[in-house]
Amino acid sequence: MDFSLTPAQVEYRERIRTLIREVHRPEHTERQHRTGTFDSPEINRALAAGGFLERAIPGYGDGDPIELWMLFNELEKAAVPADGIAMALMVAGVIAYVGTEAQKAEFLPQVLAGDTLVSLGYSEPECGSDVASAQTRAVRDGDDWVVNGAKMWTTMAHVAKWVLLLTRTDPDVPKHRGLTFFLIPLDLPGITIDAVYTMGTERTNATFYDDVRVPDRYRVGEVDGGWRVMAVALAFERGLMGGTAAGVPLLRHFHHWAANVRDDDGRRLVDDPLVRERMVRVAVDNEVAALMTLRTAYIAATGGLPGLEGSMVKVHATEAYQRAARWFSEAAAPAALLQFDQPGAAAEGWIEYDLRHSPVTTIYGGTSEINRNNIAERHLGLPKAR
């Protein structure tokens, strides 16, 4: 194997780092924590202006998935809120993969401009892991569809222009075969959006669809072919589009803080042997997560769809992140309990934040159990347990 980056890739990474340095401000992070919207319009616009976005849509233009990986890896390592742009680009990737020419022409330029966000409408009040039993109905009516139902956890819907909506179009066939996707504007009449607040500050939404008339041109993929679209979306989401480098800023925040505080025995916290051991173990986990994520990008770059590898890195990275949050909160206790803006808070409050934020990472985007089921059934070939 060969892990070297081409000069062009190194230069690309350097340009992203420079952009982050120039554009990202502490107030943007503060705004993220205050509003619960994990998005940075300033970064999005700068990325658009710098021509980064068109290269970062998987399968579109001359973009290289390795660059896509680098982009999200650098944003995440710098703790820039990038969930918004990640979701937009992921859906852009889906459209580039399975959308019609008309959809590409209408939708992709909006995402590329850096000011259009997209939300994901898969989960419902009654189904999350078993997403294929989605009940939100879409019924054909002439050239339109009429959509009725409710979605839960429609993150970004309050700031997004579009929602990628999973609907049931045929209730009389096995559940995976009666699903259809739409990409619809959130300002269509009949859509309501209610805020849902979470332990990790992150704001998400419940969205309701009441006789929403959707022109057929907003349908993505075949009628009843929604499950195939889902496979593409999940392959892009897990791994490629971020969410696997949270341990890097956590380690950095902890390390810089621990180098400057003393424990009850007067020793620098960073010199404690157990703390040192754990910092190294976190660094190892971070490296493994980076390499596994890079491999999903490499598979995409060489023409594959890294579904299983995405499941693997998601399980590893999120569980390692939780482990790190627990270890560092122990090491930094009791200052680890203090939140942002409190005097004496460990790492300015980041440790407490990560302790609160990390639990969700093994839940959203497919729980660890669901990812392990995938690996057991599809990779190890074990009989379906369900």
Partner: protein
């Protein structure tokens, strides 16, 4: 960038995978216990040229890269073959670099003492020390090489490894001070990388054994592999296998590049060979311990019986790594490189 094996690496894996499958079925591993060395198998391996493959062409070796040796070491791990391939390859490369080459093609074993000699001048529990005629290691500030007849026996140990205490007295000093430390650090990093690779091989076989068993074994009128509790436990194995494979490959890649790389933990940008080698070693060893633990457990009582092969892997997954000492100590060594040294207390 290429995150899959090259054609050459595939060929090496096929050739040596075939060699060890044919020459080293589990019966050979069992027969070689408790010493853990099969001289006939070693002689046949020397016949293939593998032990000298990574040595300098100038001395008659194959000039192969560390990456290639890692492919062979993985095959050693897959069959837990009772041959000191890793120790010998690493020690010979070190001796070649210092200009004191043992002869190419000989069946005599060379090895590396992983931990420095104690106050009495003895290296304790040297891997392959029971069968190696040549031992290289640190004695204080010096890198010392001794030649002499190996003891030929090993203290009874967990992994049936040919370990032994060896005296450093009367040896030749090959290098001193910084030069000795540098040369040793590279050799030790190579040992860690190849041992990590052997651990990757162990994980692969442990997973194969587990899947075969849970597919065949029935309880409650179903294959036990259809129980979700078993599935969730085994689903971790491909995850740790993927991680250990990639990190070990990156360490080997770094080992083949000249000079020192970067260690920038703040940005997770690490390309330095000795640091990556330590990281790969820690991760692969822990992954192999987890994989053999899960695989043994999935066998139920049979996994614990001598008759089943998983116990052979379980013990070696621990022994081959722990011979280097406490992993926590390795972490602290890496911490110095990653986070700077511990502050001197006044």
């Amino acid at each position: 960038m290429r995150l899959e094996p090259t054609e050459d690496e595939r060929t090496i894996a096929e050739v040596f995978g075939g060699f060890f499958r044919n020459e080293c079925p589990p019966a050979v591993v069992r027969a070689a216990e408790p010493l853990g060395f099969d001289i006939g198998l070693w002689a046949r391996l020397v016949g293939t040229g593998a032990p000298d493959m990574g040595r300098a062409e100038a001395v008659g070796g194959g000039g192969a890269a560390l990456t290639d040796l890692a492919v062979v070491a993985e095959q050693v791990g897959r069959t837990v073959a009772p041959v000191p391939f890793v120790e010998h390859a690493v020690a010979c490369r070190l001796l070649d670099r210092l200009g004191v080459s043992p002869p190419v093609g000989a069946t005599e074993v060379a090895t590396l003492a992983l931990r420095p000699a104690g106050a009495a001048g003895d290296w304790t529990l040297v891997p392959a020390g029971a069968v190696a005629g040549t031992v290289v290691g640190l004695v204080g500030d010096d890198l010392v090489c001794v030649h002499g007849p190996p003891p030929g026996g090993a203290p009874a140990n967990h992994a049936a490894m040919p370990v032994a205490d060896r005296a450093s007295g009367g040896g030749t000093v090959l290098a001193s001070a910084a030069a000795a430390r540098e040369a040793f650090a590279v050799a030790r990093a190579e040992w860690q990388t190849l041992t990590a690779s052997a651990c990757v091989g162990i994980i692969t076989t442990a997973l194969d054994l587990a899947i075969a068993y849970v597919t065949e074994r029935h309880q409650f009128d179903r294959p036990i592999g259809s129980f979700q509790a078993i599935q969730q436990q085994l689903a971790d194995l491909p995850i740790v296998l993927e991680g250990a494979t990639l990190l070990t490959a990156k360490a080997a890649w770094a080992g083949d590049r000249p000079g020192r790389g970067t260690v920038d933990v703040d940005r997770a940008d690490i390309t330095d060979f000795p640091v990556l080698a330590g990281m790969a070693f820690l991760h692969a060893a822990e992954a192999a311990a987890l994989a053999t633990d899960r695989a043994l457990h999935a066998h139920g009582g049979y996994g614990y019986s001598e008759e089943y092969d998983i116990q052979l892997l379980y013990r070696r997954a621990r022994g081959w790594a722990l011979v280097a000492g406490d992993p926590a100590r390795e972490c602290r060594r890496l911490a110095d490189a990653m986070f700077g040294p511990v502050e001197e207390v006044a």
